[in-house]
Structure formats: C-alpha cells, structure tokens
C-alpha cells in the first residue's frame, strides 16, 4: 500500500499543531504564541477511505524567505531540499480564518512552489462568531486548490480535511508570474470571497490590551501574576504535600516492620522509599507551577509580557524575542533552549542558550522549597504575603538578574547592532480546561517516571555506595562514615568546605549532577542511613534544620541558582549549537559562578554569625 507524504504549513500560531494532534492522535505541545513548534514532527494517520498518510508538522513561518532556523526547516522541507526528508507530495496549508489577510499571503507564496495543495480554514468557529462570512467554493476557484474548513481544537473538527485527503490529489495550483505582489493578490481574492463586519472582534482585543499593555497597570498585572504564582506554589500545595509526606513515612514504617532487619530492609526503606519518597512529595508544587505556566501560554498573555519587558531585555543587549525561550526555561531549560530557534540573530541565540540554565527550572523547586521550609520561619509579611513565597520569589529573581548580568557582560564586547523584536500579539483565548488537564497529566507522568527511573536507580546506587564497605568490627561512629560514599564526601570537603558544605552535601551533589532534584533524594538516603536510630528520622526537613547551620543552607541555595547540574541541558546545548566548546563554556562559567557566589554567601554568613551549628 502506498503512503502519502503530506506536510502542514502555515503562519505561526494558526493552529497547525492542534490540527496535527487531532489527526494523528499525537500529543505535541500547543500554546497561544508564535513559535511553539520549532522542528518538524512526524505523525501517521489513515483516512476513512483507507489511505495511509505520513503527516509532517512544520514550524510556522511568515514567509519562505526564512529569517530564523525554525523557518529555514519549513522552507527546506517545502522545497524538498531538507536532508533525510522526501519532498512532500501534498502541502496542507493551514490558515487562521480570522486573519486571512496575512495567512492567505503566505499561502500564495507557498503556491509558487508548484506542489499540490489543500487550503484548510482553521478556527472556522471563531470566524463565524466574529461574523466573518467566507465563500469557500469561490475561494477554492480563485486560489486554484481545494479548500476545507476545520476546528483544530474540537473532536471531529478535522473531518472535512480527512475526506479531502481521500480524493485523488489535486493538480498543483497555477503559480503567479515571478515578482507578483502577494499582498495585492491576497487583497483581491479576499475582496471577492470574504465579507466581514467592521473590526468587531479586534475591538475587544484592543480593550484588553489597553489594560495588559498599559505602562503602569500592565506592569502591575505582570508582577501580580508572578507574585501570586510563587505564593500559590507554597500555600495551595501544602495540604496535599503533608498527605504525601505522611504517606511515604507510613509506607516506610510499614515495610520496615514487615521486612527482617538487614541489607534488604535497609535497601528498600533507606534507599528506595526515603530516596524516591522525598522527591514525590514535591509533585503538587510542580503541578501548581505548571498550571500557571500552561494557563499563561494558552491565554496569549506571554507575548504581551515580552512586550512589557522588552526594554529591560534591551539593557542586557537582548530582544524581547529571547523572552519566550527564557520563560519556557522556568519549566525546563531543554525546551527553552530549543525555543531559541525562533531568534533570528545568531549571536542573540547563543547568548540566550548560555543564560537559559540560569532561569529557575522546575527541577530546582524541590531543593529550594525543602531548604526554605527547613530554614525560613513561616511568617506573614504585611498580613498578606507568606515569607516562604517571598524567599522563593527572591531566588527566582536572583537567577533572572544574574542572567541579565551575564548577557550584559557578553554583549559589551560586541559592536552596536540591531536586535529585531517584531513579535505578533495573538488574539486572547480562554484556556481550555481539557488542554490544561492534559498538559498537567503529561507533566505529572514525566515527573513520576523520572522518580521511577533516574531517582530510584540513583538512590539504589547511592545506597550501595553509602552502605559498603561495612565498618570494621568495633568501629565508632555511624557506619556510613566508613563507606565509599562517606570517604568520597570527606575527600570532597577539601574543595567544598570553603563554601560551607558538609560531607553529606558533597555526597549528594555527585548523583545530583545527573538531575537537580536527585540531590534531595540523595540527601534523604544519606541521612536516613546515617541516622543512628533508623526509625526516628525519616523526615528530611526537620533533620536538616537540626544538622545544618543557616549559613550552609544559604550557601547551598546560592549554589543551586547557578550550578549546571543537569545532563539533559548540556546535551541539548551540544545538539542545538553543534559545539562541545559551548557546552564547556556553559558548564564552566556556571560552576565558577556557583562556587564564587556560594563562597561569598558563606563568608558573609560567617561574619553575621550564621555559620555555627544550630
């Protein structure tokens, strides 16, 4: 049976990926801003008529005269020159029916390629609501290709397209003479085929933007949103976290009583349950953080935030274009670094990649909140703000400010050049509850599978290293001091003692190199094994506040703002830049900053008398 190679093309944010997910059953990320998809994605589907289709989802492009790496992918695939990708036999050109002027221009540009095409008028429901009447048969006749309508976000919203795929492929539409004016042609066709009321829908957008983009109110709204987000991470999550905490403790107790005393019990209770359990507790906080991020992404607010902060980015020599990749990095630096493909200026792109790991990713959240809860008193400030939330906000801010500083330093040597912004401000959209739920479920699965794989594996490995060799008979002190891990930790103290770390932290930093949150599980395992009374001290948080000085905690928090402890980030930097040198520079400067900043914080703490045992 033959397979039809088809590709989805169109302007950014016209709903290609939503349609792709609908047709192929994929779960690619969708959001309401330009540049969510930055590489080609492949999916398969079978039409009602039994035709097998290999469908490509391509990054959105305003023009085939590409200005950024993501647009170049689309240009090359359409032209059939993309390496390892056959020339598409059918281009499915997706148009936002509420913004046909801009989108039809791109379709006309694509038509010049001389490939068979189908036009899809997506978001036709929104167009109807705005009172836009489109004469579909006439549009098909004028354009010279079949036209179908679709609603990418509704089940069965792609039926017409599926039926169109079943028909024999249309002949390539007629191209215009070289040098024709696409805008003039788009205007001519629209005048013939589309009737729309005078700017009704736009008026609403502009009324909202009057608030959201207001010089004073807009900034106030932005800060309020960020602020409430960090408050929510602490206060909303607490009840569920307490439950999970009690649950893991009870599980440890139960298993502890069932299993006989010995290495197996220690492995399960101290290694797996203490290690993995200590990280699972943070699931509610991470989900709340993602709920905010996903809702903001869906609403169309993010490009507005980029607009408000563009001038601040400019002082660091970056454009508002870097804003969305950096904001994605608050979830995780890996997609953030990939999103830099939408940045036109190659140097801006490199600098954005370099500083993306300084944005506080969700994997740091367990470390931050654990230490904050253990060392910062629970207090209300001004009767309104939770002190925990304020400290967390400050840690995020420290990451952002140092990122701007690094960008600034790197820029100073550069000659004066222009950093284009040119960002589309999309229509506002109410976040769809089903999409939010799906997105959260996906994040929960990712988080739990990390716990189930990396964290359990590392916990078991660490348990073994921290348990063997066993101490010689009659030895004093906890057994872990004699183990391999204990010795490595003590040896590392030569380097780490000047920044206030103890040997337990040193031990947990090694597995923490693989992923940041692993350090929490590693600490749990190390302290669980080290505890003289093995049932007394399962709870990590009170244990840390009893064993560490405030200075040590502050120093470790500072270390975590900077330290590049994430193999995935370094791997994606290698892939995106194609250079080990960039990986070396990133890791090198981040470790140097981590050590330097932690050194300063520790020594200031010593001066303030915060270095002693509690």
């Amino acid at each position: 049976m033959s397979v039809l190679n088809a590709a989805l093309v169109g302007n950014p944010n016209c709903g290609k990926t939503a349609l792709f997910n609908l047709l192929t059953g994929s779960r690619q990320k969708v959001a309401n801003y330009a540049g969510v998809t930055v590489e080609r994605k492949v999916g398969r589907l079978t039409t009602p008529g039994g035709l097998a289709v290999r469908l490509l989802d391509l990054p959105g492009a305003y023009s085939l005269v590409a200005t950024s790496p993501d647009e170049a992918v689309t240009r090359d695939v359409c032209a059939g020159t993309y390496r390892g990708e056959p020339a598409p036999e059918l281009l499915v050109c997706v148009l936002d029916a509420t913004n046909l002027r801009l989108h039809l221009r791109f379709a006309l540009e694509v038509r010049q390629m001389g490939r068979p095409m189908i036009l899809v008028l997506n978001m036709i429901d929104a167009a109807k609501r705005q009172g836009i009447a489109i004469d579909v048969p006439r549009l098909a006749a004028e354009f010279g290709a079949p036209v179908v309508t679709a609603v990418g976000i509704r089940r069965n919203g792609g039926q017409d397209l599926l039926r169109a795929l079943d028909l024999p492929p249309p002949p390539p539409p007629p191209a215009m003479p070289a040098g024709s004016d696409f805008h003039a042609e788009a205007r001519r066709i629209l005048a013939d085929c589309v009737a729309r009321p005078s700017r009704l829908g736009v008026a609403l957008e502009e009324r909202l933007d009057r608030w959201f983009l207001h010089p004073v109110w807009g900034m106030a709204i932005l800060f309020a949103l960020m602020f409430v987000m960090f408050q929510a991470v602490f206060s909303w999550a607490q009840p569920v976290m307490d439950l999970l905490d009690a649950g893991t403790a009870a599980l440890g107790q139960a298993v502890g009583t069932v299993l006989p005393d010995g290495p197996l019990r220690s492995l399960i209770v101290d290694g797996v349950i203490a290690g993995a359990g200590s990280v699972v507790v943070f699931l509610p906080q991470i989900l709340i953080l993602f709920l905010w991020i996903l809702a903001l992404e869906e609403s169309g607010y993010l490009p507005r935030a980029a607009f408000l902060l563009d001038r601040i980015m400019a002082t660091a020599g970056l454009s508002g274009r870097s804003f969305i990749p950096l904001l994605s990095s608050f979830a995780c630096a890996v997609p953030g670094i990939m999103a830099t493909r939408t940045i036109q200026n190659p140097r801006d792109r490199m600098i954005t990649i370099l500083i993306a790991p300084l944005m506080t990713c969700s994997a740091r959240l367990p470390v931050y909140t654990l230490l904050i809860a253990a060392f910062v008193p629970e207090r209300r400030i001004g009767g309104l703000f939770n002190l925990h939330g304020l400290v967390l906000f400050a840690l995020y801010l420290a990451g952002i400010l140092s990122a701007l500083l690094v960008a600034r330093v790197l820029k100073n040597r550069d000659r004066q050049e222009e950093h284009p912004l040119l960002l589309e401000l999309p229509a506002y959209r109410l976040p769809n509850l089903r999409d939010l739920a799906l997105g959260l479920k996906q994040r929960a699965v990712i988080f739990l599978s990390r716990v189930g794989t990396i964290i359990v594996t590392v916990s078991v490995l660490l348990w073994a290293l921290a348990s063997f060799p066993a101490p010689p008979a009659g030895a004093a002190g906890p057994a872990i001091e004699w183990s391999l891990a204990g010795r490595i930790g003590h040896w590392m103290l030569h380097v780490m003692a000047p920044i206030g770390f103890n040997w337990q932290i040193c031990v947990s930093l090694i597995p923490g190199l693989a992923a940041r949150e692993v350090a929490v599980s590693a600490l749990a395992t190390v302290y669980s094994l080290g505890a003289t009374d093995s049932d007394a001290a399962r709870q990590l948080q009170p244990l840390l506040s009893a064993h560490w000085s405030l200075g040590t905690a502050l120093s470790l928090l500072t270390w975590y703002i900077f330290a590049p402890q994430c193999f995935s980030t370094l791997a994606v930097i290698r892939r995106e830049t194609g250079s080990w040198r960039m990986v070396g520079i990133t890791a090198g400067y981040l470790f140097a900053m981590a050590y330097g900043a932690a050194f300063i914080v520790w020594h200031i703490s010593l001066l303030l008398g915060w270095g002693g045992s509690p």
């Binding site: 801009l102 221009r105 805008h183 957008e205 983009l213 490009p303 040119l422």
Partner: protein
C-alpha cells in the same frame, strides 16, 4: 512622517517601508507581515520604559516593534 513618530492612539496610512541596509532583512520581514503601501496602521500601546517598544494594529493583527524597526515605515498623512 515615520511610524516611530506616530503618537499613542494615532493612526495613519503606510506609504512604504524603506531598507536601512542593502537587502535589509527587517524591512523585508515587515513587508511580508503586511506593512505595504496603502495599509492603515494604528498605535495600540507603547512600552512602559521610554515608550519603547510600540504595539501596532495592522489589518486584523497586532505586532510589537521596537522604535528602531518602526523607523523604517514611512507614513502618508494621518487618517
């Protein structure tokens, strides 16, 4: 008059987009985005610091531009 000189809330008709350098990619992109002769344009919002960048409404879309980018857009008399 140029687009960067237009006041908040003001509207005008685009005359043309000029290249600042040979083969100016920013000018090229502006033209692709619909900044073409005869197109009405209006300033929807201005940034909080130094009134930069600006948000312009063109057709049924809004774009954020820095003033330096907007200075490439020449306008006919205010409409």
């Amino acid at each position: 008059m140029r687009l960067n000189e237009l006041k908040l809330g003001g509207s005008a008709i685009i005359d043309h987009v000029e290249d600042h350098t040979a083969g100016d990619p920013v000018a090229e992109r502006l033209r692709a985005l619909g900044f073409v002769p005869g197109e009405p344009i209006r300033i929807v919002a201005v940034g909080p610091i130094g009134a930069d960048p600006i948000a312009v409404g063109i057709g049924f879309t809004r774009f954020a531009l820095r003033r330096a980018e907007a200075s490439r857009v020449l306008l006919r008399d205010a409409a």
